[in-house]
């Protein structure tokens, strides 16, 4: 039955002409019969025909309704509407071009931003069943955040849980040097437990992943390479399996290469390729502690186990551990999160949503503008509508026709927009957040993005087309063929709708401009922040990874770095060199109520050379700086920063007080005894990077001599007496002379470092600036269009007013008033909206309130001023109207 119907309808589509002729003949026959009937009743012949017609009603209209009974008639209409729409759009090439370009830019920007949102947050991770992968962290008491996990806690979780298929852990990765491939190559070396790759379970390209037993001491001299490292450094040699490589001077055997893709993406700053080497993690006896928290723990849920069930069981386990080991675990819980949720920084998530909202608003403004242009054309088309209506077209049919036209426009816009999106995508990825993009983000224009664009295209078409369609097909317009010239009342109504659209545009532009204004002010604030460093353009920082376990004793370690410092200091053009190795240590204040070991705060424990403060020119507030006499064997002294002093010695003089810092013995991982450090000085907070990053750091500085410590990396500070760019090459060479395997990377001046730290702020500002600028231009075009059109329409009225004695000032005022009314209305209505929306940018701001009245007022004024100019041009035209010409142009 269905099939027959389908065939008939399809045939009907192509035999439309014949069917229509049949229908006409059928109705003609009916009329003839009716006429004959009337004649038989004695009505004169011509009278009889008219009587029959009267009785029958509107033939065209009935035919139309009868036609609509056919199935698939909509397809027939669609073909008709598209053909008609294309003709109409071709007849107005100017309008069509402007509309397609405007919508294309709007849709393109949305497509590009959505590609990021999709790639970063919506796409499933490229691992097997990614929704079963979770990350576990130790939770601090009172929801104060979470930390990494200690070895013994990890081992207990693994033993006691029944909710995970398996648990695995990894250290954060450290930088190491891969030798034997020309210059030492900087790689990231990560130690992972044997089952780590089974959690992610996405296979290998070559060889195998780690197996149980690889992580036993003695068997652990094996490594797995990332695909990108294998390709670029080993020439994609399939014989690499079994080959021996040298990492930080020790030999390892390659057993596997990871698959291409997921493990390869950018990971390090500056977009350097992700050269990663994985080693099995074998715990040394010294690492088996409960209080050194250094492990990232990931797990795979058992099939059918929900994350809530896992969380519930881990709560029980953590309570048990806290009871058994109060020294290290009191008050600590366990936090179970989906892995996917942990890899996107909250700031990135927010910034993406914000940008998506902003481009969405730009597109809305573009839609309002197109709707406005279409409305203006609606006046011309009113007659067309009336004719079609009287020929039997229903309202819905006419609305559909209008919508088809705007959908054609938006489809054209989308095609153009896909091109725009494609181009802006690569630009965006380069200039931007790539620093913050998670390793697995895969930004492409895939099927989902295309679907998004398609939906957007339809929505856009409806939004631009529906208001004018409804306006043009009002019953009044459809009924009145006599309205040869668009009457006053109809014109008014249309004008009102256009004014509403202008108000909406102004509201949206107001919000976007305010966002951009706030970001701009915040950016200037950030740049103006008083840096504590003298002449930061002359200070070079270089990163030196410290090879793990290379220095058996602190003396060897200090000796090695002293040699490097001396060598650098001897370079021509270098005026001073300093060194800093930082880490985090728990502390409490001597003479205050003792704090539970599990709940102690960490401070930034920085071991420096005494030259450090001198080199940076840090200002002393109180006491003295560290100096060359603060050596091993002397009294242990520390200089603290302002924040530390304010927070822990609020109403007292910190000088002479002692801070108890839990020591970590040289080369070990576990916490040891508390060591008292006497405070000898207070310096201002370091502000080398933008303040947001360092705002809350509890800084504790000691000399390296008094507390040598191993960390991932040592920072070398060099003050240059000459152009710092001249030293860039010389510095690594001087280091290689001492040790050809020592890596030196990230050589940049403090100024350059600040610029890259502020890259995100600059990016937000640029993006918002562009969006707000486009919004402003579109809104102004909209305002100009409305006012200019209303002047043309009211030319007659203006002529009469001029003839009756209104001077040009009166007329100008009249036009300006009516033009500015919707603008002012938009600003007034928009204000609460702006107050509500700026909440979402507040986290991106520095030193500017989200409701900063100066910014909001300035934006409103600018918007009003620009709108006034847009009104002024047509107003001047109105003022110059010659009454005689205006009255004659009837």
């Amino acid at each position: 039955m269905r099939l027959i119907q389908f065939v008939r309808c399809f045939r009907a589509l192509f035999r439309k002409g014949k069917l229509d002729r049949d229908m006409a003949e059928e109705m003609r026959f009916h009329l003839n019969q009716s006429t004959a009937d009337n004649v038989a009743d004695g009505v004169p012949a011509d009278e009889a025909h008219y009587a029959a017609l009267r009785q029958f009603g509107n033939v065209a209209s009935i035919q139309e309704r009868a036609r609509e009974q056919r199935g698939w008639v909509w397809l027939e209409y669609l073909v008709q509407d598209i053909g008609y729409g294309v003709r109409m759009l071709r007849k107005n090439p100017g309008f069509t071009t402007v509309a397609v370009l405007t919508l294309g830019l709007g849709i393109g920007a949305n497509t590009a931003i959505f590609s990021f949102v999709n790639g970063v947050m919506l796409k499933p991770l490229p691992y097997a069943e990614p929704d079963r992968i979770v990350r576990l962290r130790e939770a601090l008491p009172e929801a104060k955040g979470s930390t990494l996990v200690s070895t013994l806690n990890y081992l207990d979780w693994e033993k006691q849980n029944t909710v995970f298929d398996r648990l695995a852990c990894t250290d954060g990765g450290r930088r190491g040097s891969l030798a034997g491939v020309g210059a030492p190559l900087l790689v990231v070396v990560r130690n992972v437990s044997a089952q780590y790759f089974d959690i992610f379970n996405n296979g290998v390209a070559l060889g195998r992943t780690f197996a149980l037993g690889d992580d036993q001491s003695g068997n652990d001299q094996v490594v797995i390479l990332t695909h990108v490292l294998w390709q670029s450094q080993f020439g994609a040699d399939p014989q690499v399996i079994g080959r021996s490589i040298s990492l930080d001077g020790k030999p390892y055997t390659v057993i596997g290469v990871l698959p291409q893709g997921a493990w390869d993406r950018k990971w390090l700053p500056n977009n350097s390729p992700n050269f990663q080497v994985f080693r099995p993690l074998a715990f040394t006896p010294g690492e088996k502690t409960r209080d050194a928290r250094w492990l990232e723990v990931d797990a795979r849920l058992k099939p059918g186990v929900s994350i809530d069930q896992a969380q519930a069981q881990m709560d029980t386990i953590s309570a048990r551990l806290a009871h058994a080991y109060p020294d290290s675990n009191k008050g600590r819980g366990i936090k179970v999160e989906f892995f996917a949720d942990t890899i996107v920084a909250p700031e990135l998530r927010q910034s993406l949503y914000l940008l998506l909202a902003a481009v969405g608003m730009v597109l809305l403004i573009a839609c309002a503008n197109i709707a406005n242009l279409t409305l203006a054309r609606g006046a011309v088309r009113e007659r067309e509508v009336a004719i079609r209506a009287s020929l039997g077209a229903g309202r819905w049919r006419l609305v559909r026709q209008f919508l088809t036209e705007s959908l054609l426009l938006s489809t054209g816009g989308s095609i153009f927009g896909l091109g725009v999106g494609w181009i802006s995508l690569s630009g965006l990825e380069m200039m931007t957040f790539s620093r913050r993009l998670p390793a697995v983000a895969n930004i492409t224009m895939d099927g989902q993005v295309l679907l998004f664009t398609l939906i957007l295209s339809v929505l856009t078409g409806v939004m631009c087309g529906l208001p004018p369609a409804l306006q043009a097909t009002r019953p009044a317009a459809m009924a009145s063929m006599k309205q040869a010239r668009s009457g006053v009342s109809a014109g008014r109504r249309r004008q009102r709708m256009r004014s509403i659209l202008v108000s909406i545009e102004v509201m949206l532009a107001f919000a976007l401009l305010t966002g951009a204004g706030l970001l701009l002010r915040s950016f200037f604030r950030l740049q103006k922040v008083d840096r504590t460093v003298d002449d930061p353009a002359k200070v070079i920082i270089a990163w030196l990874p410290i090879p793990e376990k290379r220095f058996p004793t602190p003396e060897l370690f200090l000796g090695y770095f002293h040699q490097i410092v001396d060598r650098l200091r001897a370079l021509p053009g270098v005026s001073d060199v300093a060194l800093r190795v930082g880490s985090s240590r728990f502390f409490q204040i001597a003479g205050k109520p003792p704090v539970d070991q599990a709940n102690r705060q960490p401070c930034d424990f920085m071991t420096v050379t005494p030259s450090f403060s001198r080199l940076l020119g840090e200002r002393l507030i109180k006491g003295r700086l560290l100096n060359d006499r603060d050596v091993k064997g002397g009294p242990l002294v520390t200089v603290i920063n302002e924040t530390m002093a304010r927070r822990y010695f609020p109403d007292e003089d910190p000088i002479g007080k002692r801070i108890l810092i839990t020591d970590i013995p040289f080369g070990e991982q576990h916490l040891s005894r508390e060591i008292p450090w006497e405070v000898v000085g207070v310096i201002v907070d370091e502000r080398m990077a933008p303040p947001r990053e360092t705002a809350d750091h509890l800084g504790v500085y000691v000399t390296m001599e008094q507390s040598p410590q191993l960390s991932n990396v040592a920072l070398v500070y060099i003050r240059s007496a000459i152009d710092p760019s001249l030293l860039r090459q010389v510095i690594p060479n001087a280091v290689y002379e001492r040790n050809p395997e020592q890596i030196v990377f990230n050589i940049e001046t403090l100024d350059q470092m600040n610029a890259s730290v502020m890259a995100d702020d600059r990016f937000h500002l640029v993006m918002f600036g562009i969006f707000a600028g486009v919004a402003l231009v579109l809104a102004v075009i909209g305002i100009y269009g409305v006012v200019s059109y209303s002047v043309t329409q009211r030319i007659h009225e203006i002529g009469i007013r001029a003839a009756l004695g209104a001077n040009s000032g009166n007329i100008m005022g009249l036009v300006l008033r009516s033009g500015m009314a919707p603008v002012v209305l938009g600003l007034v209505i928009g204000l609460p909206g702006v107050f509500g929306l700026t909440r979402f940018v507040s986290s991106l701001l520095f030193g500017v309130g989200e409701h900063d009245p100066i910014t909001i007022a300035a934006v409103a004024l600018i918007l009003a001023a620009v709108a006034l100019i847009a009104c002024y041009i047509p107003a001047r035209r109105a003022a110059k109207v010659d009454p005689m010409v205006a009255l004659r142009c009837e």
Binding site: E26, M27, F29, H30, S34, Q55, S61, I62
Partner: protein
């Protein structure tokens, strides 16, 4: 143009089916037959009749054919199909039930 007596909503299809159950008719014939059967009390509007005919044909209740009338004019004749006949039975039955119920309500004390 106005109906001599308002058709109850939704009864047009049933009436047309009923007329056609007596044989083939063209559109004009259906209006005439309906008047005759209702003793001039019912008049169907052409504006409703033709869309209804097309709709019912689309649903497969009617089939149509161009034929010559007695007077030798070409006209489109409609006839019931088998489904159309079933439909008529169904509508008749539900109509009977409905009028019964209404009568019951109206005549209740």
């Amino acid at each position: 143009m106005a109906q001599k007596s308002g058709l109850v909503q939704g009864t047009l299809d049933m009436l047309v089916l009923r007329v056609l159950s007596r044989g083939e008719f063209h559109g004009w014939g259906i209006t005439q037959k309906l008047e005759q059967l209702s003793k001039n009390a019912l008049r169907v509007e052409e504006g409703s009749l033709y869309p209804a005919l097309y709709r019912m044909e689309e649903k497969g209740w009617l089939k149509s054919e161009w034929k010559l009338t007695e007077k030798g004019q070409r006209a489109k004749f409609y006839a019931l199909t088998r489904t159309g006949r079933k439909q008529l039975e169904a509508e008749k039955e539900s109509w009977g039930r409905l009028t019964g119920i209404i009568a019951q309500v109206m005549e209740s004390p």
